[in-house]
């Protein structure tokens, strides 16, 4: 069911070939003070040169361990934090640039659903008011906003006559997350960022919410940025997957390539760290030792080298660049083993001679 009126005129400006969102070289360092008299200044490299694009109507999944910068990336994209550097292009228009799309307009086109369904709702507003609030701020008459809120609540499976006047604490976790989804959709956004949106839900409820997200995506022509640490869920919902490690992208590609033919040792380890469902065939070895290293002082060269079983001298001296895997231009990986010219003893044969400029560390 589509909301009957298109209050917010959203037209496809760039055409189907233009990615909905292009992010280039996004960086965010958080300062940490320490030492005597708090004078020593260090930086957490939360997001360090992340570039990606999301095609219209597709879902990009971002995976990685905690502290890898996936949530920071989401917050930077939604401009809940200002990036230190980097640019974003939304459907062909520069975000907050001269002649580009304005912030207010950009934020209406981009909505976010968070992990903590309770903390992200105002405890003093009923859920119908919550959903109607945003559009009202953007100039929709109160009566119309309320009618739309009711329609949306109904769509996400909460009967407005029963639930509309309830407060967030009167709902279960799954119901609250449905309210959050309805609230995000009230703006008729084109891009929805789902930051661990199903992580806190019970397994049986999680499946319901995933189904709802898939249906809504088809109905409203949405594009999703789906952030999760649950590899099963990302596999299920994503078209493309981006793997992050310590603030950088280590591998990116179509979901089947990532899950079926992962090239980066980290991606492979991450995928095999999933508990097996076969009691006769339990996991025998942990694929990754230790915790992710401290993002304050990331290792030189390849950031994964300290946990990598294939690390060699070249890994500590050169930063691997994102390069296409052989013939597949869509599947890129940042690993010296993928680059024939890197000097790594296990490097694959002549790779695609693409823009393989390596940056000396």
């Amino acid at each position: 069911m589509k909301t009957e009126d298109n209050t917010f005129a959203t037209q496809d400006k760039g055409g189907p070939a233009q990615p909905l969102l292009m992010v280039k070289d996004l960086k965010k360092y958080f300062p940490v003070r320490g030492g005597i008299l708090n004078r020593e200044k260090k930086f957490v490299h939360a997001v360090d040169g992340v570039s990606f694009s999301v095609a219209k109507g597709k879902t990009l999944g971002i995976v990685g361990e905690s502290g890898c910068g996936k949530s920071s990336t989401a917050r930077l994209v939604a401009r809940l934090m200002d990036p230190d550097s980097g640019s974003m292009i939304f459907d062909g228009e520069g975000v907050a640039e001269f002649g580009g799309i304005e912030f207010k307009e950009f934020r209406r086109n981009l909505q976010m659903v968070f992990q903590d369904s309770f903390a992200s709702l105002n405890p003093r507003l009923t859920i119908a008011d919550t959903v109607a609030y945003g559009p009202e701020v953007h100039g929709v008459p109160k009566r119309e906003a309320m009618a739309r809120a009711h329609a949306l609540l109904k769509r996400v499976g909460l009967e407005p006559s029963m639930f509309g006047s309830r407060y967030p604490h009167e709902l279960s976790g799954g119901q609250r997350q449905r309210v959050n989804i309805a609230r995000a959709l009230a703006f008729e956004p084109r891009l929805v960022i789902l930051d661990e949106a199903v992580a806190a839900l019970d397994k049986s409820v999680q499946a319901q919410v995933l189904n709802l997200l898939q249906e809504l995506k088809a109905e409203h022509d949405l594009t999703y940025l789906f952030i999760s640490h649950d590899l099963h869920v990302v596999h299920y919902i994503s078209d493309e997957v981006m793997v992050m490690y310590l603030g950088q992208v280590v591998e990116k590609g179509p979901v089947d390539d990532i899950y079926g033919n992962a090239r980066h040792p980290y991606t492979r380890a991450l995928l095999s760290a999933v508990p097996s469902m076969d009691p006769d065939n339990r996991t025998q070895h942990s694929p990754l030792a230790g915790d992710p290293p401290n993002p304050i002082n990331p290792p030189s060269g390849c950031r994964f080298r300290e946990r990598c079983p294939h690390a060699e001298a070249v890994c500590s001296s050169l930063v691997p660049a994102l390069m296409a895997v052989k013939t597949n231009q869509e599947h890129t990986v940042a690993c010296h083993m993928n680059n024939a010219a890197s000097g790594h003893s296990q490097a694959v044969g002549a790779g695609m001679a693409s823009a393989a400029e390596e940056v000396a560390a």
Partner: protein
């Protein structure tokens, strides 16, 4: 020592009701047994009673607002009648527990080493040097790198995975016969989760202790447990070996849970989700508590509670199971 054919844990007809500000019938006459050296996985959603079961076994509920009925026998002791010194010796000595959030379970103002030493000295009459040596051994045993340095670290200085390892070291420092693990890996990253699961499995084999492992994640249960008991609405609805549960679930809830697990096969199609939400423990339906969400439910399900029947080491409480259990005897009848 109890003789080998007697189970280490015998819970009979355990009933727990909270009557504080919010009333809730948290456990509805559950019974189970656990032999020595076995790992039992308690699987269920939030509010299914799995954590309440663990806390009852350790007597952690406030007495004033909790009404407990039934019997718990662990290592020959009647747990519900323990008092004073005996209860202190029982907690940590016979049974100890690891929690989901190790950051909250440690005292932030003492170092990891001090806390483990304190536990050892509370239970055994040893001097400080011996206790320190034992504590260091424990940290080594749970594979904390640079254990000497971590001995003097405060909890906030350790990462989540390290804290959980330290928590396990603390719990095992007095060689308990039963370890209660309350979702110990839920708050951890996948790569760290598997390390902790493997560690638990290894330590269990080495010490021969029994473990009750509570989780909502079937995958984690499969990795460590010998048997799985599925809980729903304060009751055990199905119990079987891990293999039986995973390959041939009988209860519609278990089947639904397995079916809605996201996997490679169901990509691109809607997931077969269990509809509705977990029940409210303060207002449970009169019949089977899963009936409102069940596709097989009949009028009988809505009015009469199914009894937990046992056959061939399996147990099942359902009027219309996905796969029939051949009943041999009535194990426990729940009113």
């Amino acid at each position: 020592m109890s003789n080998t054919d007697k189970p280490l844990v015998k819970v009979t007809d355990l009933n727990v009701e909270f009557h504080g500000n919010r009333k809730a019938h948290a456990l509805d006459h559950i019974s189970f047994e656990l032999p020595e050296g076995q790992v039992l996985g308690l699987l269920g959603e939030s509010g299914s009673g799995k954590s309440v079961t663990l806390r009852t076994l350790l007597r952690l509920h406030p007495q004033r607002t909790t009404r407990i009925g039934g019997k718990i026998e662990i290592d020959g002791k009647d747990v519900l009648s323990l008092k004073g010194r005996d209860l202190e010796a029982y907690r940590g000595g016979t049974v100890s527990m690891i929690f989901q959030e190790p950051g909250l379970a440690f005292d932030p103002v003492y170092t990891i080493g001090q806390q483990i030493m304190e536990t050892i000295r509370a239970h055994e009459n040893v001097d400080k040097a011996t206790a320190a040596k034992r504590a260091l051994e424990m940290l080594d045993k749970v594979q904390i790198p640079q254990a000497k340095r971590r001995f003097d670290a405060y909890p906030h200085e350790l990462s989540g995975g390290m804290r959980q390892r330290a928590m396990i070291a603390l719990a095992l420092s007095c060689k308990p016969k039963l370890l209660l693990a309350d979702e110990p890996t839920t708050a951890l990253d996948a790569s760290v989760q598997i390390q902790i699961l493997l560690l638990l499995r290894e330590l269990q084999k080495e010490t021969g202790m029994s473990v009750i492992f509570v989780t909502h994640d079937i995958g984690a249960a499969v990795e460590v447990a010998d048997r799985i008991a599925v809980m729903y609405g304060g009751r055990i609805v199905e119990e079987n070996t891990v293999k039986g549960i995973v390959t041939a679930p009988r209860h519609p809830y278990t089947a639904g849970l397995l079916g809605s697990t996201v996997s490679t096969e169901n990509r691109g199609q809607p997931l077969p989700a269990v509809r509705g939400a977990p029940p409210d423990l303060s207002a449970l339906p009169p019949g089977c508590s899963f009936a409102p969400r069940c596709d097989n439910a009949s009028d009988k399900c809505r009015s009469e509670k199914p009894a937990l029947l046992a056959a061939d080491g399996e147990r099942l409480a359902c009027w219309h199971p996905v796969r029939e259990l051949m009943p041999i005897q009535r194990d426990s009848v729940c009113a």
